[in-house]
């Protein structure tokens, strides 16, 4: 196996040593994450059929399914993204395969708790588990609320372990965390290049590891008093404190999955554009800015909470707007510049990357509108919000994750992709766009979100969306089959102890 004309910034194998152990763990993360995503997507189809009036689910079950779909989808995408970023940094950073596998087990046990809490325990309080609702569920017990908390705690622990070892490994390989974050280069405005600069994907991995640790810590801070209350050690928890911390945890995790997958664009797109994508000052500045900005913007979910301090509301709005600058301007324009007149090699992976860039832009625009306070007052409880985060996920983060898995399989497996797989990837884009467009149209027509039963006049949007969801499902089945048939040889390739350089 050779790289051919793949630039070094897109390499997968560690020159001179084996990173096969890490690549195997990465494949396991990606396959598990994307397979879980497919199952969660089927639950989504179930809900859309219900909203379209084509299948009747009881409201109790609708909210259980909604809770599992939301929490499961975020956990799945993040898991796939974690796998991708681990593979992407592994050629130049010695990650611990053992820590990766242990984190995977802990993370999946967390997912198991969430499944049990919703499907067996009847928990239906939504993936945001906004306090005090979980404590006072009329159709679920305190035990099932505790089970979902335990699930989140395990997910947070898995993420924490992953991020800690990523951060330690990056700091070791670059001689310190500030060097992994390219601070000397950054604060000298690109003039001081004495330190060996990290690859963009390494810097991004360091950034998301820091935010991941912060998010996991916020989750623990949220959960500990709730467990204490359930054990009658304390009588109550301040609701505003709880809401801030749960959103700092949950919103940051949702954001992380998007930003981690954006890192994968830096790692693999050069292979298709056949151009290197080295670290530049704008890239270093943009991604270092993400560290604080990602932790600030959660507050836009609390605009409707009058008790929230005004300063936090303001920070939420500023953070939401500011976070768009680095991601959109630097990553998207950088990616487009990389592709422009490059003689781009089109394959399933590169089509997914292109779709992901498109989805990220449109999802981001929807998010910016929603983050504007006067708009938020009107739109936040409509399907507009659902539209923007589905755009982010289906046509952004997920597209990037599928792209990177396709790239890995393409690099590792000698078996070529089946004919027609490019068409399947485009169909994914068409299915995704049609499905999401109906959410946007519904939102613009003030159709509320989180309603189990839709009025007859709202059902038309769901009915138009359903065929697009089916198209999305069929295209993913086709892509999964193609990748599945080549996965065994890709897995075997990771056993090559010498690696390929």
């Amino acid at each position: 196996m050779t790289y051919g004309d793949v630039p070094p910034s897109a390499m997968l194998w560690a020159p001179g040593r084996s990173n096969g152990d890490v690549l195997r763990a990465s494949l396991a993360y990606m396959v598990t994450g994307l397979a879980s995503m497919l199952l969660m997507g089927l639950l989504g189809l179930l809900m859309r059929l219900d909203q379209a009036g084509m299948l009747i689910i009881s409201p109790t079950w609708f909210y259980r399914v909604m809770t599992l779909h939301g929490s499961g989808m975020i956990a799945s995408v993040l898991l796939a993204a974690m796998g991708g970023i681990a593979a992407a940094v592994s050629p130049t950073t010695r990650l611990s395969a053992r820590a990766l596998w242990i984190a995977l087990v802990i993370y999946m046990m967390g997912n198991g708790f969430v499944i049990l809490a919703t499907l067996v325990g009847g928990f239906a309080g939504g993936w945001t588990v906004l306090y005090p609702l979980p404590e006072h569920g009329l159709v679920w017990s305190l035990g099932s609320a505790l089970a979902i908390y335990a699930g989140y705690l395990f997910v947070a622990l898995g993420l924490f372990l992953f991020c800690m070892q990523m951060l330690i490994a990056l700091a070791r390989s670059h001689g310190g965390l500030t060097k992994a974050l390219a601070w000397r280069f950054l604060f000298s405005f690109g003039r001081d290049t004495r330190d060996a600069l990290p690859r963009p994907v390494e810097l991004i991995a360091a950034v998301i590891a820091i935010d991941g640790i912060a998010a996991a810590t916020a989750g623990a801070i949220y959960l500990i008093p709730l467990f204490a209350q359930a054990s009658h050690l304390i009588t109550s928890v301040d609701a505003l404190f709880a809401k801030n911390f749960v959103l700092l945890f949950g919103h940051t995790i949702a954001n992380l999955s998007i930003y981690v997958t954006a890192g994968l664009v830096y790692a693999a797109l050069p292979a298709y554009a056949k151009r290197a994508w080295p670290l530049t000052w704008p890239v270093a500045a943009a991604w270092n800015l993400i560290i604080p900005l990602m932790l600030l913007n959660y507050s836009h979910h609390l605009y409707a909470d009058f008790a929230q301090p005004f300063a936090l509301q303001l920070l939420g709005e500023i953070g939401s707007y500011a976070v768009a600058l680095p991601s959109f301007i630097v990553t998207i324009i950088g990616a487009l510049a990389l592709m422009y007149r490059s003689g781009m090699r089109w394959s399933s992976a590169s089509i997914f990357f292109a779709l992901g860039l498109w989805g990220w832009v449109f999802g981001g625009m929807g998010a910016l509108l929603d983050a504007t306070i006067p708009v938020n007052q009107v739109m936040h409880n409509t399907l507009w919000v659902v539209a923007h985060f589905h755009t982010y996920f289906v046509l952004g983060a997920l597209a990037f994750a599928w792209a990177y898995l396709s790239y890995m399989v393409e690099m590792l497996s000698p078996v070529p992709a089946h004919r027609g797989i490019d068409a399947a990837t485009w169909l994914y884009g068409v299915g995704g766009a049609g499905f999401i467009l109906m959410f946007f149209v519904s939102g613009a027509n003030s159709v509320p979100r989180r309603f189990a039963v839709h009025l007859p006049q709202w059902q038309i949007y769901g009915r138009i969306a359903v065929p697009f969801v089916v198209l999305l499902a069929l295209s993913l089945a086709w892509i999964s089959w193609d990748l599945g048939t080549r996965m065994r040889s890709a897995w075997r390739a990771t056993l090559d102890s010498s690696g390929v350089s």
Binding site: A97, V105, M109
Partner: protein
Amino acid sequence: MIAGDSAAIARYGFVWEWEWQLPLLVALVVAEIGYLALLLWGARRGRESDRSRSALAFFTAGIVVVALAVMSPIGANDERFLSMHMLEHDLLMWIAAPLLVRGALPLITDEHWLPTFVNRWFRLVTRPPVALTIATVLVWTWHAPSAYGFALTNDAAHAFEHFCYIAANFIYWWPLMAKPSEIGGLRSNAARAGYLVAGSLLFGLLAALLAFADHVWYPHYLHVAGATAASALADQRLAGALMLYPGAIVFVVAAVLTISASDSGRYRAAAIGAE
């Protein structure tokens, strides 16, 4: 052991007493002596003494945990409280069984002294999918209300139930604890991770069904003197929680202890073995 007329005898409320069971004590002592004899015989045939000493310590610890689980106040209250009964099972399945596996490893992986049919049988039952299936079927079957109710009314059945839990989990933990080159040993980290997650979900599902049920599964606990429907249900929920949460911690600890830094070598060894 309270049997037959347990409902009439049992009193609601935790009782701090030990329940000495002579047959169990004898069985455990015989097992320990038998194990020691096999170990000494193996040592005379050249087995490493360091490994044997640590194995003896683990096996003895496993025997002690079995004794504590069944005869301490935890076991003594198992017919008054389902939660104590489940705690007893936790100790047998998740503490005693892995310790016994760790102790038995040098004996059973030294295949030469085992009769051929035992060797073949052990190879079959410790294949990971078979081991997982056996463990799941045994544990789930004994939690069926009719089987569980029968065990509460019959001392021999109750003892056999506990034996099944130990045996089922002995088989479950074996593939994780055996080395890749040993009988049944899982060869890759991927297999270990998948096996652990599958096991935790299958045991967790049973625990969740118990914890989240809206009615009492085992009528016996409704008839304990002083118990009410509400107290029995609360006790059942506690029982489910005692399986669910400590179980999860056990599986995390197992992941930490059994997942290795690199498995490339294992794959190559397996490939060479296959050739």
